[in-house]
Assembly symmetry: C2
Homo-oligomer: 371 residues x 2
């Protein structure tokens, strides 16, 4: 089998070892004569996998005992509504920092949740500039609401390629209120001090598993304060009280998360993967910056994502030719999001250094021929 | 590999052919050099699978063009809240028929949704009797609300083993309002006239796939009437307008649903599987009724489920011994739900006739030795 060089934005490449493990035991999990997905979620065989996945999330994120780690459903898209339903009571205001399309969507869904008895939404900062986003705001640019319920930020904007907290010049914002962070596209890509947050959430389908699993990590004291008058299924409390086994969880997806995080462990954990991710990002940004202007990154160098590298070519025709030629060399998923155009290479944890080297080399060759 | 005789209530047994297909192409889907779960949900390779799964659901359920077939997340448990959020506006009342634990839960979550701007919930009938349920109500027992938003029923109660519409003596209720039916545990197990319903919904993990996929089929005219002031993610309209690709769907789960429904097609479709299911159910009910009272079905014979066969033994000790001995013979999942005790054999579509024959034979042997 010749493996594609998969630069998809999500669902995305998964570690080959995690997939091989799934294939090898797909029909007979640990000698049980059943697939893991045929096991009851209330049986010992699955429960062991479930709790191992929870423990690996906590370990790799460096979470202390005062955090709940939940596996729920609906992706970040559902969390955009469900988080304010839990943590933004009527009469209160939540602050949102918008640094790209996903932050916009978080604001839009939180505002729509007003009809569900949710409080007010305030945009504390937006770095939108001519319908695009190229940086994160500085702390002194934030209009923080006094007594806010929480402050919401997006650590990495998948479409715009803008990332928070990459170094000392782009720190995550601080606030008196708990900071809720959407880490969908860079969770476990690098070391982050979890203690600065109240909630860390992510769809699994970029860095930690297949689509259909959502990870919500929340400080227990925050979960306990959540609204109680909404249906049980929407209360994070319910899932915390039942160790994410209140209703049937997406068992096979959680099993795959377990496989991916076990692979991460074997690779040396987050510190080692961070080194590799930075090396991969450097290869692409060097190819962009060294192209004499043929490739152009729209993003402020201090905020350039190490997960989603976006760039432009001189014309839309050249961009199209670039994507097409790359596909001919089995490099998949390089077309920028339809809302912004251009090129995007998503280089999540499972994307191999050799693939990125091949892409950088192709970039140089393409620029030489077409530049 | 020796395959377990899997009588789990859900997640449950899946057709071996569907699993083998998944294993064989897990690392390389259709020569793409990627797993199907690594493909973008917006790419042609996955989209083909997605639309094939939608078409197979519609075909096997006999749905006309005026239905939407949606793949969403959260299981029936989320639908219990989300359905009233869409279809029960303030000032209106919805009727619920309760024939077991899942109907109870549907009522409880719909009532809790009142805080989300949802209307009133009225129990039109409940067949609860001494903390159990043994039958479905007759039409003349229903206290239907005039001008109700909808009537909700559970076609098969997984825990209590009570099923609607098995023959002319237990028809589904009729109402002026649309009938919404939770078919989680008997969808596609037998021929049902879909035209009598407004919404048919089901978690996939019993008859059609792994956990983590929820199927909601709804008449288009009903979807169009749904509430518009709630977050987009909760509106079934959103998923209908975007062919269930508004946000990232659980792609691998939907791929498995496709595999299972393609297998069903090859087996002769719903009419053939209905024959087989009835034969399997008859084997077990005959073993119960022919045991001279050693085994006892609590359910009214006209309402005895063909999917979840429940029965009692003379003592709890004998029940425990039964489950333990059966496990020794690789018959898994026979313990009744913790809320009701006893024995339960879930004999969904993928459960093979030979397994049920083995169970019936074991029942006779056990009764002879212990009776």
């Amino acid at each position: 089998m010749s493996r594609a060089l998969n630069f998809n934005a999500g669902p995305a490449s998964l570690p080959l070892a995690a997939l091989e493990r799934a294939r090898d035991e797909l029909l007979d999990f640990e000698g049980s004569g059943m697939s893991v997905m045929e096991h009851s979620h209330r049986g010992k065989v699955y429960e062991k996998v479930h709790h191992e996945a929870v423990a690996l999330v906590a370990k790799h994120l460096g979470l202390t005992k005062d955090w709940d780690v939940l596996f729920v459903q609906g992706g970040a898209s559902q969390a955009f509504a469900q988080l304010p339903m839990n943590f933004l009571p009527q009469g209160k205001t939540a602050d949102y920092v918008v640094t790209g399309a996903w932050g916009e969507k978080a604001v839009s869904e939180a505002r729509a949740a007003k009809s569900l008895g949710v409080g007010e939404v305030h945009v504390a900062a937006s770095t939108e500039k001519e319908k695009s986003y190229v940086r994160v705001p500085r702390q002194d640019e934030l209009a923080i609401t006094s007594g806010a319920a929480y402050l919401h930020v997006t650590s990495n904007e998948t479409i715009h390629g803008v990332e928070y907290g990459l170094d000392a010049s782009t720190p995550f914002p601080t606030a008196a209120a708990p900071v809720i962070v959407d880490m969908s596209s860079d969770i476990l890509a690098r070391r982050v001090d979890a203690s600065q947050f109240g909630v860390i959430y992510a769809g699994a389908q970029k860095n930690i598993g297949p689509s259909g699993v959502t990870i919500v990590c929340a400080k227990k004291e925050l979960v306990a304060q959540g609204r109680k008058d909404i249906p049980a299924i929407f209360q994070y409390r319910t899932h915390a009280d039942n160790q994410s086994l209140y209703n049937t969880p997406p068992t096979f997806g959680i099993y795959l998360v377990r496989n991916v995080l076990a692979w991460l462990e074997g690779e040396g954990g987050v510190p080692a993967i961070e080194e590799r991710n930075k090396k991969k990002a450097r290869l692409l940004y060097d190819a962009i910056d060294g192209s004499g202007g043929f490739y152009r990154s729209p993003v402020d160098p201090a905020c350039r994502s190490i997960m989603n590298v976006v760039w432009r070519l001189p014309t839309a025709e050249l961009e199209e030719a670039f994507v097409k030629e790359a596909e001919g060399q089995k490099m998949i998923g390089l077309k920028g999001h339809r809302s912004v155009g251009g090129i995007r290479a998503s280089i999540y944890n499972a994307v191999e250094v050799a693939w990125v080297e091949a892409l950088a080399s192709f970039m140089k060759d393409f620029a030489k021929r077409k530049g």
